[in-house]
Structures are given as structure tokens and as C-alpha cells.
């Protein structure tokens, strides 16, 4: 099968228990600067984008999941990850 380029995007966030000082600080700043009290929560995380040449979207996703786990790109002790819906880049 011909190879195609796929883009897989991943978001890694801290588990709730591990706290998220970045999010907490942004929230505190927002409230301190007033006018943004409608924001009730901020969480931060890490974003990674992989370009892969594979046979299918499915396969691309599987590879990324595999490398996230095998290479511990996220740390399962403290973090979760989520793969974003594939969006064809413009």
C-alpha cells in the first residue's frame, strides 16, 4: 500500500492528583486582573504533533499510541494523554 503523510496530535496533561501549577497560576492571574471571573478553571498541558508516513490513519494512530507508551513520552504515574481527532492540515 502506498504511504501517505498523516498528522497525529497529542495532548498530555497532569492527572488531577498531581496538581497543575501552570493552570492554577493563570487562573490566579486572570482573577487578579479582574474582568475574567467567568473563567472557573484552567488546566495546562503539553501538546505534541507527529508527522508520520504510514498506510492509514488507523496505523498512524496506533504507532503514536505505541510510542507514547513504549518510550514513556507521557509519564503514566502523573499524566494522561489524549489523541486529537485527525484534522487535515490546511
Amino acid at each position: 500500500m502506498a504511504l501517505q503523510e498523516f498528522i497525529v496530535e497529542v495532548i498530555i496533561t497532569n492527572k488531577e492528583k498531581a496538581r497543575d501549577p501552570v493552570g492554577e497560576t493563570i487562573k490566579r492571574d486572570l482573577l487578579a486582573k479582574k474582568g475574567y471571573d467567568m473563567v472557573s478553571n484552567v488546566r495546562s498541558g503539553q501538546y505534541l504533533r507527529f508527522n508520520l508516513n504510514t498506510e492509514s490513519e488507523e496505523r498512524a494512530k496506533n504507532i503514536v499510541e505505541d510510542l507514547l507508551n513504549k518510550l514513556r513520552i507521557y509519564n503514566p504515574v502523573t499524566q494522561n494523554f489524549r489523541i486529537l481527532k485527525l484534522q487535515k492540515e490546511s
Partner: protein
């Protein structure tokens, strides 16, 4: 921007029409587009010092006049011989404009640049310093944002490369609201052998030219633009104006470079900074009186389709050029391989004295090696600003406020308060050399492992004083920075400076530069301190207010301490000891913190410097040191000696009882005495037994020395003998005020 005609097309360049004519004359033909770009960049103010060079000629003789100076102005860094076979290199540079738009990456790449300058002297970078200027923090989110991310940028880059930031300085003042100053300094240590191995010149024909480090991208190209077509498909908007630093790669470059230098096969070394490969290849061959043939297709690029113009002018970070002996090529390349550094052999030197750059088969640059460094210079007009007379004639208002309140307020001022918020973020201990650490003394003191020698470094200047009188203010800055190293027991050895000024085309701005340089030159000649390097940053203007920044000729002094026992520290040690004020206190409140914090006043005559008196003060300090009589020392500057004493009380939580009767002359006011910023003063702690000897020495050296009090165990500062009521200050409260200012402003 100037419009010129090149090969029938209209192009926009930074250079003037006159300069373009000069280029054509030099070549006897029209330049190619790549050559034009090369001249445009190399003849820019930043690279060529065309406005400042005539003035900086004053400094040229350091190498000839001081036997311990190994490299003086004109080299990538100043280098001095500190004995025992060791060489010390240091330099200071500005990264103001990039940091003002992107504080984090701007400051980080500033650190990256200064590290490269030191590295290309063949020595290991062992310390960083960071004198900074911002607008006031209070009620100014923009200043807070700049300050926060500049400090983080310096921290992340310095910490990651494993070079401790051992000191710095910061002032907050409205004139820096939109044009902050980010100056960074680096110190390197190596053997004299190391230094000799790595001249930034290519002296020999037949050596290999190697590019090592990060890949070459389109970053930082200040393009010559054509009216009718763009240079490549990539539009300006897609080019990031500010570069992204990569301290990890830099760390590997440092290790790989030092290991390569140790082999003895490296014959020349040059970093890639402003002007990129153009600057590196032309300076290596031009200064070395050789030529070279270089092929740009060998350069490893980050993006496809880069033109020769772009490759020659790219300012991508983290790259070095090596000139390597043919027989050592494999050895050197193996070292690069070990560190997994990318590299490319891009050419060879020859004795043609011509730099030929090929893009595959096309000859794109064909210039005499020296041509690019032969930029024209400008004689700029200078004129003293008219507003100064009015400013200087301003008087200190009558003293009606409570002195205690004033002192509590002064010690909390942004310019005086504790700077711990900054240096806690810096790894100031990596390298296991830091003996006097940030906040523990007036200077940073490093040991030279394996010897009983120590170096001390301090950086700064008082921008308010320089604004009112650039000559006195600059000499004052020298007194203060020398005073800082002397306070820790060091002898000042050499100076480098970073001149931050406004637009040199405006006579008033150029006058500031001119007077500052004259001040530096006069002081350093009289005091026998070699000026071994510098950097000039012009065009520091507030675009909103259309005014220049306060003139800031940043001074860095490096000193030497022989023997651990001669290191002096700042904190008071023991109740019962005597306190002496060394040096004369005059009614000099012009440009003081007292004026600005208490009266919001910017005027008055700033303190004056009398070199003869300063010399005598230093002499007596060194004699006191030789006699082992000084237990603590801190020089006096912003806020006056009462602030100095408070700062000395904090660490060991001691107090002081001062009796100022007979200490100051009749017609000086209490506030003038307490808050004067007269230069060249120290507060020292001594044993009561030494009292008489000290006063005898004062006579011998004809220095104004007054016992002003004693240390007490109760943490309070009591001041008697004023014309007003006695003062009683709580050391705890002073410390709280001193400590809380920046955290309160920054940590919301």
C-alpha cells in the same frame, strides 16, 4: 532604507547611497546580490561600529600598555593573564531590541551569544552576569511581563548550559518603559595554552574550514528587499523576528569545542553571530591575511531551497566555525561525532587574500578578504542637551518629612531592595567555584580550583547619574564597580563596557556617548585599569515618548584576590566591633534615589569623582587588608550609607549604634549626609583594638575616615548626633521592607 539600482532593478538596503558607491568603487563593478547583502550587514552600525569607532580609538592601546593583557579591544573578548598559567577572558554585550519584543527568547539568545564570544577564545565559560534595565514595576504590567520573562530566559539558558550566573544588577526607571536594556556578560577561564590555540583568525593556507553545530535556517536575515520582487517565496511575515535559543545544543557545542581545542589541531575559531557565515569567514580570513574557498552546498540547512544569499546571512543560533590543520581533521571530526554534533567541511583557506564563495558551480561572492571590514566611519555631531541646565539647577526640597519613614521607604525602593527574586532562579553555584555567592557580597567571587587565587566580578552603572552628567556618571560607575570588587578584597584588573545610548544621528544622544567614553578613558588611564573590550548599542529610544533611554554605559570590572584569607564579606560579624565610614560624604543628592523615591525629582548635580581621592581611598583599603583589620566591608551607593549599614545588619541579625557628632561638616543637612550618594565610600567593621592604627593610616593617606559607631547585638539601628531627633530603626522591619518589594509586585 535607501533605494539603489542594482543590475537594472531597484533594491532597498540599509546602507547609504554613499556607502553603495564606495562598495562599487572597492570592487570596480556592481556587487552580486549576495555580496550586496554581505556589505549591507557588515557595514551596519551593529557590525561595523561606524559611528562609535572614531571615539573608541581611545581604548586601542590596552595590549601594548599592560603586560598582562593578552587580548584587548577588537577581539571577540578581552583576555588577561592572571598568573599560574591561567588566562581569563570576558566580555559584555547587549541584546536590548530582541528582548523588548520577545523577552524570553531575546534574553536567552543574548546569553547564547555572549557564551559563544568567550568560547571562541578557546576557554571554558565559567560565569555569567546580567545587568538589566526596565521601566518601573509598580502599576506597570508591561514592565512586569518583560522582567519576568527576561529573567526566565536568562535562567533557562544559563542553567541549562551549566554556567552559573554569579551576579548582575538591575534598575527600574521610566525611560526604559518600552526599550529595556538586557546586557549580558560572560567570563571564561583556561590555560594560556588554550587561548593561544584558538585565535579568531585563519593565519595559514591549506587549513579546513568547518561549520559545526545547529543547522542553518532562515532566521535573523535582515534582508535586502527588492521593490519589484521578494527574495524568495518566503514572505517577511513568516520569518520570526526573534530567534529561538537551544541551550542543549549550546552545551554540546561548548564541550565539543573545548575538547577539539585541547587537541592542538584547531588553528582558528569563530562564532556565528551577527552577519552569520559572512562575518565569520570574512573576519577569519581578513584578520588572518589569508583567503578561502567555500562551498555553500555543503552547509546543512534546516529548510529546503535556501538561496546562497540566505545561507550566507542566516543568523541561526548555536553554530561555530573552525579552522583546522589538515593532519588533525579526522581527530577533530571524531570529537564532533562523539557529541553527535552536525558538521560540514565547507572549504579551505588559501593565500589568495580573496574570499570566494560558491553555490555549487556558481561563484556568488568574490571579494578581497578585508573588504567587508573596511567600512566607512561617520563623524557624528555632538551637542549638550539644553534641558540639562534646568535639571541640574533643581534643589533638594526642605526636609520636613520624618527621617525614619524616609529610610523605611528608601530601603523598599525598586532600585535598592533585595534582588533575591532574580538570582534564586539562576543556578549560581554550578561549577563549584562560587565562594562569595549572589547576595553575599558586592561582587561575585569565584575560586580558581587548584590555586589559591580568586576572581571577583561586578557589573553596573548608575543611569540616573549618567543622565545628568555622562562623564561624571561613567567615572562614578567605574568607582562603584571597582569599589564592589575591592569590598570583597580584590584588586581591580581590567574593565569591559557596554555602551547603551540613543540614536547617534541625534547630536544630543551622541554627546552622551562621547562624554561617557571620554570619562571611561580618563578614569582608566589615571587608575591604570586596562579597557579590554566593549560593545555599543545605539538607537535605544522610546518609540512612544520619542525620547532616548537614560544613558547607560554599563561597566564590568574583574578583579583578583590572592589568597583565601584575603576575601572580605559583607555581613556584620560581631557586636562590640567598631564601624568606620571611609571616604568623604558631600552634599551630593543630584540624581539620587532619595530625590526620586521621596520627591519624585529627577534633577540636581550628580556626585563628582576625584580620581586622586579615590586612589588614596583604595590605597588605605589595601593597607587595612594587608594588616588583616577589616572584618566586613560594603561600598556605599544608592540610598547612602545608612542603607549600606542596614544591609550589613541583615544576615547575622545585628544592630548598630551610630554617633554622628563631629562626623560631618557644619553646613550639610541631615538628609544630605544620610542619603548622599558621594562616590568612593565604604563602611567597614573593625576590632576596637585597631581603632588608633586606623586613624593613623587615615592621616598617612590623607583619607577622610570617621568612626561612626559600634555594632550591638540588639537588632536596631540607633542614630544620634543629627540636627534633627535621634533615629531608631528596627532591623526586622527594614529587612521585611527590603525583602518584600519585588515578590509583592511579581507574585500577585
Amino acid at each position: 532604507m535607501t533605494k539603489i539600482k542594482l543590475n537594472g532593478e531597484e533594491a532597498h538596503v540599509e546602507m547609504t547611497k554613499g556607502e553603495f558607491e564606495r562598495v562599487k568603487e572597492l570592487l570596480g563593478r556592481d556587487p552580486s546580490i549576495t555580496e550586496l547583502g554581505a556589505f549591507d550587514v557588515m557595514w551596519s552600525e551593529h557590525c561595523s561600529y561606524k559611528s562609535s569607532r572614531p571615539k573608541l580609538k581611545l581604548f586601542e592601546d590596552a595590549e601594548a600598555n599592560y603586560d598582562y593583557v593578552l587580548a584587548g579591544p577588537g577581539q571577540d573578548a578581552g583576555v588577561i593573564d592572571i598568573g599560574d598559567g591561567y588566562a581569563l577572558a570576558f566580555r559584555i554585550e547587549s541584546h536590548n531590541h530582541p528582548s523588548a519584543i520577545e523577552p524570553y527568547h531575546g534574553a536567552a539568545t543574548g546569553i547564547g551569544g555572549i557564551i559563544r564570544d568567550i568560547l571562541c577564545m578557546g576557554v571554558r565559560p565559567i560565569a555569567l552576569l546580567d545587568p538589566l534595565r526596565f521601566g518601573k514595576l509598580k502599576n506597570n504590567p508591561h514592565s512586569q511581563w518583560l522582567f519576568k520573562y527576561v529573567v526566565k530566559g536568562i535562567a533557562d539558558y544559563g542553567n541549562c548550559t551549566g554556567i552559573p550566573t554569579i551576579g548582575g544588577e538591575v534598575e527600574f526607571d521610566e525611560s526604559f518603559d518600552s526599550n529595556c536594556l538586557i546586557n549580558v556578560a560572560c567570563i571564561g577561564l583556561g590555560t594560556i595554552e588554550d587561548f593561544k590555540h584558538a585565535p579568531s583568525r585563519a593565519y595559514n593556507a591549506g587549513d579546513y574550514v568547518i561549520l559545526m553545530g545547529g543547522s542553518t535556517g532562515r532566521d535573523g536575515i535582515h534582508g535586502v528587499t527588492f521593490a519589484s520582487r521578494t527574495l524568495t517565496e518566503i514572505s517577511e511575515a513568516d520569518r520570526p523576528a526573534v530567534q529561538i535559543g537551544d541551550p542543549f545544543t549550546k552545551k554540546l557545542i561548548i564541550e565539543a569545542t573545548l575538547e577539539a581545542v585541547k587537541t592542538g589541531f584547531v588553528r582558528g575559531l569563530k562564532d556565528l553571530g551577527g552577519g552569520g557565515l559572512t562575518c565569520a569567514t570574512s573576519e577569519l580570513t581578513g584578520d588572518g591575511n589569508t583567503g578561502a574557498k567555500v562551498d555553500l552546498r555543503k552547509v546543512f540547512t534546516r529548510e529546503p531551497g535556501m538561496t546562497s544569499y540566505e545561507i550566507m546571512l542566516s543568523e541561526s543560533q548555536e553554530r561555530m566555525t573552525f579552522i583546522v590543520k589538515p593532519e588533525g581533521l579526522d581527530t577533530v571530526l571524531d570529537i564532533f561525532r562523539k557529541f553527535e554534533m552536525s558538521f560540514a567541511v565547507i572549504g579551505r583557506t588559501n593565500d589568495s587574500k580573496v574570499l570566494k564563495v560558491f553555490d555549487g558551480d556558481n561563484l556568488v561572492v568574490n571579494l578581497p578578504s578585508k573588504a567587508l571590514s573596511e567600512s566607512p566611519t561617520f563623524k557624528r555631531q555632538e551637542r549638550r542637551p539644553l534641558y540639562l541646565d534646568k535639571l541640574i539647577s533643581q534643589k533638594t526640597p526642605d526636609l520636613t518629612l520624618d527621617l525614619e519613614e524616609i529610610i523605611y521607604k528608601l530601603i523598599a525602593s525598586e532600585n535598592i531592595c533585595n534582588k533575591e527574586w532574580i538570582y534564586r532562579q539562576y543556578d549560581h553555584e554550578v561549577g563549584v567555584r562560587s565562594v562569595v555567592k549572589c547576595g553575599e557580597g558586592d561582587s561575585g567571587v569565584l575560586r580558581i580550583i587548584g590555586t589559591d587565587k580568586f576572581i571577583s566580578a561586578s557589573v553596573g552603572v548608575n543611569s540616573k547619574h549618567c543622565f545628568l552628567d555622562p562623564n561624571e556618571g561613567t567615572r562614578g560607575g567605574l568607582v562603584e564597580e571597582c569599589g564592589n570588587v575591592i569590598a570583597n578584597g580584590a584588586k581591580p584588573m581590567a574593565m569591559v563596557n557596554c555602551c547603551n545610548f540613543g540614536n547617534p544621528e541625534i547630536p544630543e544622544s551622541f554627546w552622551y556617548f562621547s562624554k561617557a567614553v571620554e570619562g571611561m578613558n580618563d578614569f582608566c588611564r589615571t587608575m591604570r585599569i586596562p579597557i579590554v573590550g566593549g560593545n555599543v548599542s545605539f538607537y535605544n529610544e522610546d518609540e512612544v515618548k520619542k525620547t532616548a533611554i537614560k544613558a547607560t554605559p554599563m561597566i564590568m570590572i574583574v578583579g583578583l584576590i590572592e589568597g583565601e584569607k584575603n576575601i572580605i564579606t559583607l555581613p556584620f560579624k560581631k557586636a562590640g566591633d567598631d564601624l568606620f565610614l571611609i571616604g568623604e560624604t558631600k552634599a551630593e543628592l543630584g540624581g539620587s534615589e532619595y530625590h526620586s523615591v521621596i520627591y519624585d525629582l529627577e534633577g540636581g548635580i550628580p556626585p563628582k569623582v576625584d580620581e586622586a581621592k579615590i586612589k588614596a581611598t583604595w590605597d588605605i583599603m589595601f593597607e587595612l587588608y594587608r594588616n588583616g583589620m577589616v572584618k566586613a566591608n560594603h561600598d556605599v551607593n544608592k540610598g547612602g550609607f545608612i542603607i549600606t549599614i542596614a544591609e550589613m545588619c541583615f544576615k547575622n541579625y545585628l544592630g548598630a549604634e551610630l554617633d554622628l557628632n563631629n562626623c560631618f561638616d557644619e553646613n550639610i543637612r541631615d538628609d544630605e549626609f544620610l542619603f548622599s550618594e558621594s562616590y568612593g565610600r565604604f563602611i567597614i567593621e573593625t576590632d576596637t583594638n585597631d581603632h588608633d592604627t586606623i586613624l593613623k593610616l587615615a592621616k598617612k593617606y590623607d583619607v577622610n575616615v570617621k568612626k561612626i559607631g559600634v555594632l550591638i547585638s540588639n537588632p536596631e539601628i540607633i542614630v544620634k548626633g543629627l540636627r534633627n531627633n535621634d533615629i531608631k530603626l528596627d532591623v526586622q522591619k527594614l529587612k521585611e521592607n527590603f525583602d518584600s518589594t519585588i515578590p509583592n509586585l511579581m507574585e500577585i
